[in-house]
Symmetry: C2
Subunit: 275 residues, 2 copies
């Protein structure tokens, strides 16, 4: 398949999924509150693509949710070239993706993160994953999330779940705290086995995330919570902030390569506490 | 002067200053709320020193203030040796210092940060500084702070203020936001002109910080503020968090070399917001 077709297919999917997820969120909020949408260009002098991020805050269900779409291209700055697969000799790249971060009002509903992307340098690959960060323990919910992900993975390859779950646990880890960010999920990068099959997996993950967040939220939307639950959530969000600013590669990479700051830091919680 | 005497003199001074500053803070709080003190050891198997950090939260004047003293020694891990002046061939080090971060309840009083330290590898040097982060503009206060620092610096060397102010502006900068953390102050590192004179400067800076924070706080302690002022302060604290987790060398270094996490992250605000 021609590379340009792959780029079109993937970026169109990410855009479509952004709309679908935003629509679900609006329904969950009873359409009483709207997303604030920001479109941005990577470069104002020449066309290097850009994106649209949508943020909804202070809803009945969501304290803050961001749904970020981007399609950017150009040349990596010299000092990054060597850090990027397939870019050490040729700095040109193309990248498109979607990322979602949900910080819930009800502290017994976990925070959720999802991201998928397609990158092209002299090589092409998919990356992404989804992971869940509760501030209140819920073993049944944890089991359901992992089973859902496992079943989805198994439809594609019997090795994926184990491999990508482990990758997730290793990635979303705060070494200074010796603790995981949350209860994990799946995470993968440099995925380039077979475009058609990989892309099927990427779409399946997007749809699975949609099903999961709707299910998790609807299950607990009316459940009562206490001020103490909320305080624990604020502290957990402090840890979330520590991870994203200290360790997250995407955050660092975005900030260093001049991405849109508000879009990149959309993942930060609306309010975090440190004791 | 014998190196062991220099170590004793400097670490004793930092400890003394910790007590003096904590005492001032207690007086400002009318002694109605106490510091929570934590002593820690760097290594539980063998003696590598440790420290004591004191945190006071939810006071009438301070939302959170941390006063951290430490004296640690041992060997740098191999991968850090080359990053440290004088340690590339010999990993042994000794370091002592004091750091203070004040997050105020009244949002028209600026956040303040102060730190001084003495490090010994095969070389010895002082580092430190103080800087101020208002969330509400106050040109008169800014001028007074910089004049006080300038006058203090000039007593020691006519070149210090200009050089150290610039260093401060360059260090406390958020490139992704293209903004400074605050209104600056002075900052310096690798200072090893002459131990006696350098140590005099270090002590003078400690005393100047004491005078300044008392003056700044007392001047505004009873001034009225609005919920809007407080919201702006929370957003400013988000920026403060971004700087400390994304860029601060001390934070990174401490976390990577297994320092005390609570002590290192004491600089984080009690509550931060991202819009």
């Amino acid at each position: 398949m021609d590379l340009e077709i792959k780029k079109d297919l993937t970026s169109n999917w990410f855009k479509l999924l952004q709309n679908a997820i935003c629509n679900d969120i609006s329904v969950l909020e009873n359409k009483k509150i709207n997303f604030k949408s920001t479109t941005w260009k990577k470069n104002h002098k020449k066309d290097e693509g850009g994106g649209e991020f949508r943020i909804l805050q202070d809803g009945k269900v969501f304290d803050k949710v961001g749904v970020n779409y981007s399609k950017v291209y150009g040349k990596f700055p010299k000092k990054f070239q060597k850090k990027i697969l397939g870019a050490s000799k040729d700095p040109r790249f193309w990248a498109s993706g979607i990322s979602v971060v949900m910080h819930m009002k009800n502290p017994i509903i976990p925070a959720m993160h999802f991201n998928t992307r397609f990158i092209s340098t002299t090589q092409q690959w998919f990356g992404g994953g989804m992971d869940v960060t509760p501030s209140k323990k819920d073993d049944l919910e944890k089991k359901d999330i992992h089973n859902t992900l496992k079943n989805m993975c198994n439809k594609h390859n019997k090795n994926y779940y184990k491999r990508y779950k482990k990758w997730c646990d290793q990635y979303f880890y705060l070494p200074h705290r010796k603790e995981r960010r949350g209860i994990g999920g799946i995470f993968f990068d440099y995925k380039n086995d077979n475009f058609e099959k990989d892309f099927e997996f990427i779409r399946d993950l997007g749809i699975t995330f949609q099903i999961l967040f709707n299910k998790i939220i609807r299950n607990k939307i009316n459940k009562k919570w206490t001020i103490k639950d909320k305080e624990i959530q604020y502290i957990k969000r402090g840890r979330y902030t520590e991870f994203n600013l200290l360790y997250d590669r995407g955050t660092k990479f975005g900030l260093q390569t001049g991405g849109n700051v508000e879009g990149i830091l959309m993942s930060l919680p609306p309010l975090a506490k440190w004791k």
